[in-house]
Amino acid sequence: MTRLTRVRSQASADWRSFTRRRTAVFFTFFFPVILIVIFGALVRSDPGGGGLFSEPPAYYVPGYLAVVVLFTPLSRLGSEVARHREGNRFEKLATTPLTRGEWLLSQTLVNTVIIAVAGLLILALVVALTGAEIALSVWLLAYVLVGVVCFCGVGAIIGSYTDSQDGAVAASNAIGLPLLFLSETFVTLEQLPGWFAPLVDLSPLTYFARGVRAASYPGAETGVSGTLESVTGVDPAFGNLLVLGAFALVFFVIGARSIPATE
């Protein structure tokens, strides 16, 4: 109950702080919308054609969702940690009962709500603008939740090891952009050099993309050679969530421990 009270107090303060930064709120929702409009409505996919966007529109749903599930926690947590450090807020919090894990949990909860709302907007836009046929399932919610936990942990690590807000945002972009395009989101594994495949497997976003695709895209090709489901035979929606969950646990713990409590 005590822990709950602390997390609630922190999350409430975080929520108010975020919603009162109007530009941050606007661009959190506007950024994925831009991408959907550009790639989904203007460029359009060309199923069966060559090059990029040669899959049906529903194939790219994990990519659009990844824009917010990946980038929002990376940039928000990165800059939030830097802001807290610059304002000596961690020094203050270190002398209160709030632990670093609770602080990160509070931030994660706020991000989950923001990203869940943004995710709904994205799904609606993808369907409306691209005509994608997607299946809604509770797996999507689970993937968003676990993905946010994972990337909030990564964001906390970035914020803890960069020396300023600017540095945190730059590092977030430098890490996020390659991950976004090279994790079976917008670019299929077949379009990448063979030697690159092991690197794709190291990205937690890959398991997010595969799992969301398995859960939302009825025509998704599963059991591709080398993937988890092809080796273990488990339901890809479940199996990929397990792997993503393991990444989330590791990054959350490292992220929480990275947050500065002492000089």
Binding site: S9, Q10, S17, K92, L93, T96, T262
Partner: protein, 334 residues
Amino acid sequence: MDAAVDATNLTKSYGDTVALSGVSLTVERGEVFALIGPNGAGKTTLVRTLTGTAVPDEGAVRVLERAPTDLERARIGVLPQAFSPQPRLSARELLAYYAGLYDEARDPETVLADVGLTGAGDTRYENLSGGQQRRVCVGAALVNDPEVLVLDEPTTGIDPAGRRTVWRLLEGLADAGTTVLLTTHDMAEAARLGDRVGLLADGDLVALGTPEALIDAHAGPSSLTVSLATDETLEPIRADLESALEFAVEVDARESDLLVRDVSPADIARVVDALAERGLEYTSLEWAEPDLEDVYLALAGETEALATRAAGTADPTGPAERSSDETGDGGEER
């Protein structure tokens, strides 16, 4: 009486810079301890070490008989230096937020009133004046009703009226038994609030004692400043007056005034008579008792002067490594 804070031989360096060089300090329960010293003297490092947010290279700290990192957080309240909370929360929301981090806390409305901000409770932190912001931060430090309150420059940027509000608040807390350790550059604040004052210079606690003891030991005598209405060289006048008055008379640093030392208020008439007998006109007479600022200038000013000289001669054994013994007797020195 049990010690609320007990630090022994604290040493802390950042690269080649010695921030603390063997500081030992005890603050009794219910005591108000004021830490003064120049910028860069090590005050904030000492505060961080005492609150567990910095780890000393050597030495030990006990706060309420426990290591700072093992202490129940509800028993201590801390205001870090240059602390800046979430700017888009109102003063009321910020105090409620920090209160929400504790099992038991003071009513945020009461704290808001205590720091004199009831009327500005709904104003966002970013829109408060600098002094109001600092008062919110002071409120956030005491919202958990701590047994030990550590405040790093609590009144920086606060106007005189607001400063007195904070002083009265801290005096009330001290009267109720709260141990207060504060750092300040305001000597009047240290003298008014501090049961004892410690002067930190170059990582050394160079003097420690009650304000009165420190003043008696280090501040020198009272002085009467005489601004003469003359263009003559002051040295012959000084020598003449000194022999006539039996007081030490000096020409001040700007060579514009005479300083008559160790004059009681009752002796001022004698000085006035001596001036009249010599036909010396004056534009003002100003008598001053020694205070904590004189102690600061006598001890920290000496350290700064040594530092300047050391920097000028590139002396590798500069004042950072200087022993407190060099500062002479007085107060309760280490």
